[in-house]
């Protein structure tokens, strides 16, 4: 074994029994988040029931099944409740093959995973390799082989600090937690993690080139899901102590990878084959994991094999319907598929339940519809209620005809008066929010919720305290039950974005539909556009620009007509090119264009010398206007300005207007818009001719 590393880190005065021989696990019984609020206000997350069993039971059971001999349960929030629960449970009996030690810390001193590991390091409890797991993880993974693998790797790589366990699950799989989306770069030959990124809010992922140079073969994986189980070398704890800024696992991994060259520490990844592991990190995941348990993906951690003595076993019948003893089912009631009903619950007549969990001692009335709901213990649901996609905590009472919108969460003790309708994605709690003085919900909150609670109800809308960094994350479980739509939508955005990127990469794909199809003219246009842009930004003199444009003209061999047209088009498109977005069609457009035209007046005067060139430019103006409806609106202003500056002569404008446009559609758009200007011109001419007479 690997004594060399151990002896370096072990504290003097070690115990007689070598701890390496004992397989040790640290179970962090707090997720340091408020995803489950308000349900977790009074009860720790680890004790929340998951398919009628406290979550921590699953975690301890999976550790026990993998052969762990000693587990430290580290509690922060509501530590006393967890301690009490464990003391009463089978886990603390002397007959238990796994010994458990509970460590608790006040939540003021410990606010993150990092803090808790620093605290454990301070207590110097751990000497050997250990398994680090969160108490909200459900898994049936055999951890010992992975631990062996970890030790085996240390023979070749002394710097190994952690083997983290990942599960492959493809995009769109329900066990992918939307807020924990990650991208890993792995060396496929040995499984070393080379790069770790949380990709939730990223559109583009960047990887250092150095990594590819160093490793000829790199796998980029987007299909891996973090199970929150890791095999750690003892050095992990001091590493956390040395770096106070490591708060989460992600911080730790990033830190290790950044300091890789200095400390020579490495992290490996283990991909699960055929085992199950998932973390109940938010309510959507609670939903997903519950379904996995009911559909027996987590075997042997399934309701009918629940080993705890205090709860009677569930019996399993067809279509994954589990019932504990004492369940009564009324006439014509249906438990359709994937349903779990707890001890002594009563279900009334003509009630329909599907894909749901119902806790102990619940009373459900007649004609109730329940689907995709998680109903905990002692809940009373009266007749004709309708519940779809909801989480209902202990002791909730729904009077007759209550309707819950999708994704509602009702905290313990909430009572809703008959006929109450709750909008989707609402969280209710039984006591008024502490920060607010009023009973009614003020409209100042970001969501403009009507007061959902009628006079006889006990239930107040819970507003999640707005954390700076978690606003996006909270959105995720806000959307419980609606995820699919959200996902496709974002994908569309992504692809649109992708197309845009593509366009930016390739100038030949540039938007405007009025670009010349001829390659030479196109290059000429681009060059002119560039010259003009630079000319405007650097205030280059008109004469020099004319020289530049002329040289481009010869380089690309374009006709004079094309030059006239393209120069005008380039000038007109300059504002939108410079701001990189189309104008809004108001005076602002004109405000942006005017100084540009003013600056280029010498250039225009140079090119527009005779009647023909003016006609060309007017044609270009028209074409541009037809293709850019936004521009069309200000055509009149542009014409007027150019006329006023004597760039375009009256005769040319009138001749242009007299000839039919090339594009019939221009008749209705551009011609219509310039109509007032033309009439004004004509009138002016008549006047002047009158005068001359």
């Amino acid at each position: 074994m690997s004594k060399a590393v151990k002896s370096g880190t072990a504290k003097p005065g070690s115990e007689v029994v070598k701890q390496e021989d004992v397989i040790v696990a640290i179970l962090i019984a707090d997720s340091f988040s408020i995803r489950f609020a308000p349900v977790t206000d009074l009860k720790p997350k680890a004790l929340l029931p998951l398919v009628n069993r406290p979550m921590i039971d699953y975690a301890l059971e999976s550790l026990l099944l993998s052969g762990v001999q000693k587990t430290f349960v580290y509690c922060v929030a509501h530590a006393d409740q967890i301690r009490l629960y464990l003391r009463e449970s089978k886990w603390m009996r002397s007959a238990s093959p796994m010994s458990i030690e509970v460590i608790s810390q006040s939540s003021d001193d410990c606010r993150s995973l990092g803090d808790s590991l620093r605290d454990i390091d301070g207590k110097s409890l751990i000497r050997g390799d250990f398994i680090l797991m969160s108490a909200d993880v459900i898994s049936n993974v055999q951890l010992i082989p992975i631990l062996e693998e970890h030790r085996e790797k240390r023979k070749t790589d002394k710097g190994i600090v952690m083997t983290h366990i990942f599960k492959k699950s493809f995009l769109g799989h329900r066990s992918r937690s939307a807020e924990e989306e990650l991208v890993l770069a792995i060396n496929p030959t040995n499984g070393r993690i080379l790069n770790y990124q949380q990709s939730k809010n990223l559109k583009k992922l960047s990887f250092p080139l150095e990594m590819f140079k160093e490793h000829g073969l790199v796998d980029l994986r987007y299909d891996l899901v973090d199970t929150h189980i890791s095999i750690c070398s003892p050095v992990v704890l001091p590493l956390f102590s040395d770096n106070f800024d490591y708060q989460t696992w992600g911080d730790f991994v990033r830190g290790i990878l950044i300091n890789e060259e200095i400390l020579n520490n490495t992290i490996y990844c283990h991909q699960l084959e055929g085992s199950y592991a998932a973390r109940v990190s938010n309510i959507s995941m609670y939903d997903a994991v519950s379904k996995d348990i009911i559909q027996r993906w987590t075997f042997p951690l399934v309701p009918d094999l629940n080993r705890s003595e205090e709860t009677p076993r569930h019996t399993l019948s067809r279509h994954n319907v589990y019932k504990q003893p004492g369940v009564t089912l009324g006439k014509e009631s249906v438990l359709e598929v994937d349903v779990v009903v707890g001890e002594n619950s009563e279900i009334g007549e003509q009630t329909y339940v599907t894909q749901s969990v119902i806790g102990k001692r619940c009373k459900i009335g007649n004609n109730v519809r329940i689907s995709n709901a998680y109903i905990w213990d002692d809940v009373i649901i009266e007749d004709e209620c309708c519940i779809e996609v909801a989480l209902i905590a202990d002791g909730v009472c729904l009077k007759k005809g209550v309707q819950l919108g999708h994704g509602c969460v009702l905290g313990p003790g909430v009572k809703l008066a008959p006929g109450t309708k709750i909008p989707a994605n609402t969280r209710l709690m039984a006591s008024p929010p502490k920060s607010e003085n009023e009973f009614e919900i003020s409209d100042e909150e970001e969501e403009n919720l009507p007061a959902p609670v009628s006079a006889d109800s006990i239930g107040y809308v819970y507003h999640r305290p707005i954390e700076e960094d978690s606003d996006v994350e909270s959105l995720v479980d806000e959307l419980w039950g609606l995820e699919i739509e959200d996902d496709t939508e974002s994908e569309e955005d992504d692809e649109d974005e992708a197309d845009n990127d593509e366009d930016e990469d390739h100038e030949e794909d540039l938007e405007v539909g009025d670009l010349p199809e001829d390659m030479n003219a196109r290059s000429f246009y681009n060059e002119v556009l560039e010259s003009l842009q630079r000319g405007y930004e650097e205030k280059i003199k008109g004469d020099n620009l004319v020289l530049e444009i002329n040289s481009s003209k010869y380089a690309y061999n374009v006709t004079m007509k094309e030059v006239n047209m393209l120069v005008i088009k380039a000038m007109l498109s300059l504002p939108s090119v410079m701001t990189k977005k189309g104008g809004s069609g108001t005076n602002d457009d004109w405000a942006a264009l005017r100084p540009i035209l003013q600056h280029f007046l010498p250039v225009l005067r140079n090119y527009l010398k005779n009647n023909q060139s003016m006609l060309d430019s007017l044609e270009a103006l028209e074409e541009y206007g037809v293709n850019n409806p936004k521009f069309a609106k200000i055509t009149c202003k542009v014409l007027h300005y150019l006329y006023g500056e004597d760039v375009l002569h009256e005769e040319a404008i009138l001749e242009w207007h007299a000839n039919p446009p090339n594009d019939p559609s221009a008749m209705t758009t551009i011609r219509k818009i310039v109509e007032p200007f033309i009439t004004w011109l004509e009138e002016a001419e008549e006047e002047s001719s009158d005068e001359s007479d």
Binding site: G172, K203, L205, L209, L220, E495, A498, E508, E517
Partner: protein, 456 residues
């Protein structure tokens, strides 16, 4: 005829100018055969009966004679470039666009490989790929093999090739050099690409064989789009990127009422890549009926519903190397002679009849005089050479009509056509292109004509 073959043989050999200043790259000898012979042989073995060849005009006669000279049955259809014209590979393709009738196989004349081509074609055919490229796994030792001439730091032109782990789809293709210059040493990938291909294997040690099977419509696109000059540098990355662009929805109903207008606009507007795309209706229908899919985890159809698809055939075994640098050229000579009997079982090489000490892995050309007391190891000697007494030659490439006088030691060098090395020289890791006088000692030098040096 399902495929047409095109050999790009107008390359200048810009990475080995010491050897190519008076001869085209495609005629440099590898194991005493002109480089292009290997491409022709490979095509003939794959069953091609004729091939389009693009060369420079002044070598036309010489190249046209090759099949005759070496008994190849393949017919050459030669297209010439003027002497000083420098055409990129895409430009060359544009030049012969009228001759292209079907999907094409494009190879470069400097490729020597024994990978069965039908496997590449199979991949191309199976997936109706737009472009299929051949890559081979190369060991870094081969790339870093020693070369004669001045010692320079070998610049490896590596590509980062992103392959989907599930299917051999080519997800991205960038050259390391581009990234280094443009992107501050980072490779960025859009997340939407990762969503389509959640498992990407990025390989940095693959050698692009510059062998592409290209669909006809892509050829049309290339010939229409004049901004492309290089296949490898521009076209391929472009097509690979275009895989992820959504094809515009063709709204037939909308087009029908004013059909005459739409026809005009089609001709005048710039045609985007999708307007070139020619789908096989039969194949589309089969796919829509079939339950087959190339990936799982989402509801997209086969090939992620991409109309443009690029695939990569990665040869795990077999020999594949391009003679595009001096190192590779030397290494190729050494490797090919070792593998000759397995690569070309039907092309026998006659062992030299001589009393001289000739080691294994040697090749002696016809009419070459070896004096009895010379020793030759790991070397290739061309035709009509004259090797004097007590000459020791190790690890050398000696082209035709070379004279080496007595008591000379040659090591790891290349002796160009018609060069002469006089008595008692000691030459190590040099390129010799003219007469080297007696008692010369050189290491890592280029010994070529003085007038040529002036020219430079």
């Amino acid at each position: 005829m399902e495929y047409q073959a095109v050999i790009m043989a107008a390359g200048r050999g810009s990475r080995m100018t010491d050897l190519t200043h008076d001869r085209p790259k495609c005629l440099l000898p590898i194991c005493n055969r002109p480089m292009i012979w290997f491409s022709l042989k490979m095509l003939e073995n794959a069953g091609f009966e004729d091939v389009l060849v693009i060369i420079h005009e002044q070598f036309k006669a010489e190249i046209a004679d090759i099949p005759n000279k070496y008994g190849l049955k393949i017919k050459l259809d030669i297209t010439c470039l003027q002497k000083n014209e420098d055409y990129g590979t895409a430009d060359s393709l544009r030049l012969i666009k009228d001759k292209i009738k079907t999907d094409i196989l494009v190879i470069s004349c400097d490729l020597v490989c024994d990978i069965p081509l039908h496997k590449v074609f199979d991949l191309h055919r199976t997936h109706q790929s737009s472009v299929t490229a051949l890559f081979s796994q190369t060991s870094p030792e081969v790339m870093l093999a020693p070369a004669p001439g001045p010692k320079t730091k070998i610049k490896q032109e590596r590509d980062l090739v992103g392959l989907d782990l599930q299917t051999p789809r080519l997800v991205f293709l960038v050259s390391e050099a581009d990234l280094t210059s443009e992107n501050e040493e980072e490779l960025s990938i859009r997340k939407s690409v990762m969503k389509h291909f959640p498992q990407i294997s990025v390989q940095g040690n693959l050698l692009d064989a510059h062998l592409y099977v290209i669909k006809k419509w892509v050829c049309d696109y290339i010939s229409e789009n004049r901004s492309f000059t290089m296949l490898k540098g521009e076209v391929l990355p472009h097509i690979v990127r275009k895989q992820f662009t959504k094809s515009p929805k063709r709204n037939i109903d909308k087009d029908l009422p004013n059909a005459d207008v739409s026809v005009i606009s089609l001709n005048t507007a710039k045609r985007d890549i999708f307007s070139f795309l020619v789908g096989d209706e039969e194949e589309e229908r089969i796919r829509s009926y079939s339950a087959w899919n190339d990936h799982r985890g989402d509801l997209r159809g086969p090939y992620q519903d991409h109309a443009i698809r690029c695939f990569a055939y990665v040869a795990k075994e077999g020999f594949c190397l391009r003679a595009n640098t001096l190192n590779n050229y030397c290494e190729l000579n050494r490797q090919v002679i070792k593998r000759w009997s397995t690569m070309f079982p039907d092309e026998e090489i006659t062992p030299p009849v001589s009393k001289a000490q000739v080691g294994v892995d040697c090749l002696i050309g016809e009419n070459t005089q070896l004096s009895d007391k010379c020793s030759i190891k790991h070397s290739i000697i061309g035709q009509n050479c004259n090797i004097g007494d007590k000459v020791r030659i190790t690890n050398c490439i000696i082209m035709d009509n070379v004279t080496v006088m007595k008591e000379t030691t040659l090591q790891g060098s290349i002796l160009m056509k018609n060069s002469v090395v006089e008595n008692s020289c000691d030459i190590k890791d040099c390129i010799v292109g003219h007469t080297v006088h007696s008692n010369c000692k050189s290491t890592n030098e280029v010994l070529v004509d003085a007038d040529r040096l002036l020219e430079i």
